[in-house]
């Protein structure tokens, strides 16, 4: 059974947060939702988590209690300890045999030594990992993670990634929103959102391959509307360029897709 949305449209007043978005979340696979600020990532993830968003379209979701969700705010109670968080989740989900699972999750997130520490005294990365551990405790069929790696140090990001990959290996359909394109490249499928619309969808390689033209790198900035910095050098997109087998990165493909969508490169 796959989960997801078909032609999902969500509007806030006059503004369309999502327009006819179709997305499929396959058990055992990881889907990355990528997009800039205001692209509609959080709205899509809330809808997939089954949270009260009025929408048009169809949602196919697991039964209540079979989804794990970490909101962008973290979803952590600063005045509860790690153990108390997991205890609360086990009660909310009505889990009976959860202590071994909790111990395993704490070990995998390197939180076992801090289990009696208040969440308010954890680092940002530790809080994110706690949020993910809480979402994973009930062995969800659909795991929805909203920007869980934002603002997290590289080591903690790796830990979170191991956790996410582990959830997929256990059979959960994982969908996560991220602004980091290097992370998105690890996912099986990428959904590129812009202004609530899907710009591109497919495997990272497919999304990259679909990019029109070529991107070259140089020390000099090219046409301002078609170039962007990477480190100390410049990337320059030529819409009429012909590729001769060179690999295109997902980051280049995503930026080009946004340039085309905003019309800045025209």
């Amino acid at each position: 059974m796959t989960w997801g949305a078909t032609d999902l449209t969500v509007t806030y007043g006059e503004t369309a947060a999502l327009s006819a978005v179709t997305v499929e979340c396959v058990p055992g696979e990881i889907l990355a939702v990528v997009g800039g600020d205001g692209a509609g990532k959080s709205t899509l993830l809330k809808a997939l988590a089954g949270i009260g968003v009025l929408h048009q379209g169809t949602l196919t979701l697991p039964a209540r209690g079979l989804t794990g969700y970490v909101p962008s705010e973290g979803g952590i109670y600063r005045d509860l300890t790690i153990n108390e968080h997991l205890d609360f989740v086990s009660n909310a989900y009505g889990l009976s045999d959860w202590r071994a699972r909790a111990a395993d999750l704490l070990a995998r997130t390197d939180l076992a030594d801090f289990s009696d520490r208040l969440a308010g005294k954890l680092s940002g990365g530790q809080r994110r990992k706690l949020g993910a551990a809480m979402a994973l405790l009930p062995r969800p069929e659909l795991l929805v993670l909203d920007e869980v790696t934002t603002g997290v140090d590289p080591v903690s990001r790796m830990g979170l990634w191991r956790l996410i990959a582990g959830a997929a290996a256990e059979g959960a359909a994982v969908v996560f929103a991220t602004s980091y394109l290097d992370e998105a490249e690890r996912a099986g499928t990428v959904l590129l959102l812009h202004d609530g619309r899907v710009l591109a969808a497919g495997s990272p390689a497919e999304v990259a391959a679909a990019m029109p033209g070529t991107v070259t790198e140089s020390d000099q900035r090219g046409a301002p509307e078609r170039s962007w910095p990477r480190g100390r050098r410049w990337r320059d997109w030529d819409p009429n360029g012909v590729r001769t087998g060179e690999r295109v990165s997902l980051e280049d493909a995503a930026i080009v897709a946004e340039l085309i969508a905003t019309g800045e490169a025209s």
């Binding site: 949270i51 009260g52 169809t58 209540r64 979803g75 989740v89 989900y93 009505g94």
Partner: protein, 338 residues
């Protein structure tokens, strides 16, 4: 910096209303409410000389009953049931009974002794020493519960919404009603314990007498808690931040302090603001607590505040739960035909 603050202030209309509008409203309302001089003393004149005595009384004594057949026992009952604040029983041994639970009314009545029948013997009932703490402690129970109910409860709910944890609860098997009960029950329990602690402190430290029914005390406390917790939840449904919740809670608290009769007698307030007092739950809770603590009031005497508080509890708590379910509690996505 100053420009930035003004820009932010301009967009925070609630704060501007609190800073500019509220003081003005407070000044007008409290100017009419904050009066210690009582000009309307509800008085019963009983006994064979009732008609003559009533005719001689100062204008401040408002006759609520004039009965030549009335007795000493009738006078005490009327004061116990709060049907009058003062009772004059005429006859061979004329008596003046004053309700000591209404401090300012009692003092005002005693000051106007010139117009009373000659040789009248005064007696202050329920609070003979006109002790302030005996009157204030039962009222403070209501004020403290109101504070816990509105400020603490609303902050607790709003904080959870700010942290994003309410949304997270949406994916759990918990239903909205489970969340509501789960959020409110602890505050209810703490408020109940608070009520007991305040009452015992008042009795043991301030020597406030507790003469009435423990059962009625519990019933009123229980119903009143539903009203104040309802206010707290209601505030949380219309507040986007903890700051907004505190602002609204202050707006709910202040009028109750000033207009409930807790400090200033309702009877001394101008009619234009007095009616506001009759819309406030603390008004009825104060009446009930003073009646239970000091007068050992019967169920019948407290029926009016009981009915009003029950109606308020159903209305406020019902509205709060409805709004919480609609706007705050986690809900599953609703599909609309595509």
């Amino acid at each position: 910096m100053i420009l930035k603050e003004f820009r932010q202030m301009r967009r925070d209309r609630r704060t501007v209303a609190l800073m500019v509008g509220l003081p003005l409203v407070m000044l007008i309302i409290f100017g009419y409410a904050a009066r210690f001089d009582v000009t309307e003393i509800e008085t019963a004149v009983l006994g064979p000389g009732a008609d003559i005595a009533a005719a001689q009384l100062d204008d401040a004594f408002t006759i609520v009953k004039q009965d030549p057949a009335g007795t000493d026992a009738d006078a005490r009952t009327m004061l116990a049931d709060s049907e009058a604040a003062v009772a004059i029983v005429t006859g061979a041994d004329p008596k003046l009974y004053v309700d000591g639970t209404e401090l300012f009314i009692a003092q005002s009545a005693l000051r106007r002794g010139d117009s009373l029948p000659a040789g009248v013997q005064g007696e202050i009932l329920f609070n003979p020493e006109l002790s302030t703490s005996a009157v204030m402690v039962p009222s403070l129970i209501g004020l403290i519960l109101l504070f816990i109910g509105t400020v603490i409860t609303s902050l607790g709910v709003v904080r959870e919404r700010e942290q994003g944890t309410l949304e997270q609860l949406a994916v759990t098997p918990l239903r909205p009603i489970d969340v509501i009960i789960g959020k409110i029950a602890p505050y209810f329990a703490v408020a109940l314990i608070d009520m007991i602690i305040i009452t015992l402190t008042g009795i043991l430290i301030f020597n406030v007498p507790f003469r009435g029914s423990l059962f009625l005390f519990a019933v009123f406390g229980f119903i009143y808690l539903f009203v104040v917790l309802g206010f707290g939840v209601l505030i949380s449904t219309v507040s986007r931040s903890q700051g907004e919740a505190i602002q609204l809670a202050i707006m709910v608290l202040l009028p109750q302090v000033m207009l409930s009769g807790m400090i200033f007698p309702l009877k001394s307030m101008a009619a234009g603001v007095r009616w506001i007092g009759y819309l406030l739950p603390l008004t009825y809770f104060v009446q009930a607590m003073r009646g239970i603590f000091l007068k050992a009031s019967s169920f019948g005497a407290l029926l009016t505040p009981l009915i009003v508080l029950t109606v308020m509890a159903v209305a406020v708590f019902g509205l709060a739960v409805w709004r919480f379910r609609r706007d705050v509690a986690p809900q599953t996505a609703k599909a609309v035909a595509s």
